[in-house]
């Protein structure tokens, strides 16, 4: 039983490393119901469960990609622990968390979950702040930066696309946009002390 679960875990991690979409799908099918059940047991909705689970998966995914994952338990336990921590934080921020007690639906908890949950939360904040900043930036800055950073287009292509006279003026424009974006970003996002 345990060895089977470990084999599944190893296959999922391998699949994520190789950008296999099936691995992610498998991860979702295997572990989302558990988190859904947990969140619903503790005054949550389907959407809450989805948000929380995705936050946890993003941290998990990025750690695997960066090779930083130190997994000394099952993926199931790891994800559950992070989701539990995240949900606790959310509950304590809202008034729904009235009785000070959380009902656990799994018995095991991963020891490193606290730090990783913290990371997941920061990640989410950064993502939101960046999304907001980009939305407020306005055209053509937004498209320019997205083309350069997100779609990895070269400066010559961008020069051509936006009709700048030369690469230097495009670069100039890019840095102006970048500095505005930075200001907007830090309006929204506080660096954790």
């Amino acid at each position: 039983m345990i060895s089977k679960a470990l084999v599944t875990d190893a296959a999922i991690i391998e699949g994520i490393l190789q950008d296999d979409d099936a691995a992610l799908s498998r991860l979702y099918k295997l572990h989302f119901p558990m988190v859904l059940f947990f969140v619903q047991s503790n005054n949550g909705t389907d959407d809450d469960a989805k948000d929380i689970f995705q936050e946890a998966v993003i941290v998990f995914y990025e750690k695997i990609k960066a090779g930083q994952l130190e997994l000394n338990c099952q993926i199931k336990t790891y994800l559950y622990s992070i989701c539990r921590r995240l949900w606790l934080k959310r509950l304590s921020r809202s008034s729904r968390f009235s009785h000070g007690m959380i009902e656990d639906t799994e018995s095991e908890l991963a020891p490193q979950a606290d730090g990783d949950a913290e990371q997941a939360e920061q990640n989410e904040l950064k993502f939101e702040a960046m999304g907001n900043a980009l939305a407020q930036l306005g055209e053509p800055c937004k498209t320019l930066l997205e083309d350069f950073y997100l779609r990895s287009m070269g400066m010559p292509e961008i020069t051509e696309k936006f009709g700048y006279t030369n690469v230097d003026s495009a670069k100039n424009q890019k840095y102006k946009c970048l500095m505005r974006l930075k200001k907007l970003f830090f309006l929204d996002y506080q660096v954790p002390s």
């Binding site: 989805k50 995705q54 007690m101 997205e146 660096v191």
Partner: protein, 371 residues
């Protein structure tokens, strides 16, 4: 350094296009200037977030697709997606979490309560047994000795008898045959080194143990004193049959230095714990009475006083004479220096009690035990 320069520098830094001199300069400046270092870190965080943004956007889209796929699949499989989850009250959550602990605690409590109740019950029954227990009536002479010593101190002219060692224990015994056989309780002479008998007139003889029956609590003694010439004719005889319930009985004994008379009735034909070898009698008895003769109205010897029940009123016990007689019958001949010739004639019958006692008291002796 302006914002723009910094951004450019960091960008080149990430694309590994910086010279080693530039890298060193940057590191030195960061080490020297904390405000600058903070700016660099913020800028790095920002660019990192920007670069991450795209990756995460695609990842999120993928996850959303999976979620949708999962949801569709799940809805197909179970039309009523997730059953409406019953909301649990805090009390229910508490119970679910601590039910096992509470169970253990309750079990421990129950076990403790019942074991302590049981223990108390056992203790009570044990102490109850102690209050109503059988005691043998041999007397320790120690306290008496002290009193005599006190007397000695106040009165310089000591009486001759008080100088004698009174022995450590004392009991009562009576004459079995006129030629020197003597009977007492076994527990009186138990562990004795030497034995003396002494009657009211002060006649003293040295005796030795011939035979003891521990089970029936009887001892057969014989006078070994050289000065002994015989007890004289015995006034009582020994009864073979068992006596009837309610018969008036009496005894003579030495619970203290003088002979004491005690009278009562035969209240049961069995002894303590249903022992059929004994009678229960209602005579007030004290330590020192053990081994005394129990006689009926007509002067038949019907038993040997053995003990009483503590904590029960008027329950004393005597070994039946029938058992004494069977004991004598069963004794092997070679163990006896002389055959035992029991008295056949009874001189007491028909006499009033004081006359009976007058005749009797010469044959009842105090047994002194030295060890």
């Amino acid at each position: 350094m302006s914002e723009r320069e910094l951004l450019e520098l960091l960008e080149r830094f990430h694309q590994h296009q910086v010279t080693s001199a530039e890298r060193r300069a940057l590191q030195e400046r960061m080490a020297a200037d904390p405000v600058f270092a903070q700016r660099v870190r913020e800028t790095e965080l920002f660019t990192g977030a920007l670069q991450n943004h795209g990756r995460q956007q695609t990842l999120r889209d993928r996850l959303n697709r999976h979620h949708q796929a999962w949801q569709e699949e799940n809805q197909k499989a179970t039309p009523a997606t997730v059953p409406v989850l019953r909301k649990r009250t805090p009390m229910q959550i508490f119970m679910r979490r601590y039910a096992a602990t509470m169970g253990v605690a309750a079990t421990v409590a129950i076990v403790t309560v019942f074991s302590s109740l049981l223990g108390m019950e056992m203790w009570r029954s044990a102490t109850k047994q102690q209050t109503a227990r059988y005691v043998e009536l041999r007397r320790e002479v120690d306290d008496l000795k002290r009193k005599q010593d006190a007397l000695l101190n106040t009165n310089p002219v000591a009486p001759k008898t008080s100088a004698l060692n009174p022995g450590q224990f004392s009991g009562t015994g009576f004459v079995l045959t006129s030629d020197g056989y003597f009977v007492t309780s076994y527990h009186v002479i138990e562990g004795a080194d030497s034995l003396m008998i002494e009657n009211k007139k002060g006649t003293r003889y040295k005796v030795e143990e011939i035979y003891s029956d521990q089970v029936r609590d009887l001892a057969l003694l014989r006078v070994t004193d050289t000065a002994f010439t015989g007890f004289g004719k015995l006034p009582y005889s020994f009864k073979q049959k068992e006596s009837e319930l309610g018969e008036r009985v009496f005894t003579l004994g030495y619970p203290r230095e003088d002979v004491v008379f005690g009278e009562g009735t035969l209240s049961s034909r069995s002894g303590v714990y249903g022992d059929t070898a004994s009678y229960q009698i209602s005579i007030p008895l004290n330590p020192g009475n053990s081994g005394g003769p129990l006689l009926d109205d007509r002067g038949n010897m019907i038993g040997v006083i053995s003990g009483k029940m503590l904590g029960v009123d008027g329950a004393a016990f005597a070994v039946k004479s029938a058992y004494l007689l069977t004991l004598l019958d069963q004794l092997p001949e070679h163990r006896l220096p002389k055959p035992i010739a029991l008295p056949k004639v009874n001189n007491l019958a028909g006499n009033p009690r004081p006359q009976q006692l007058k005749k009797l008291q010469d044959f009842v002796y105090m047994v002194k035990v030295y060890n």
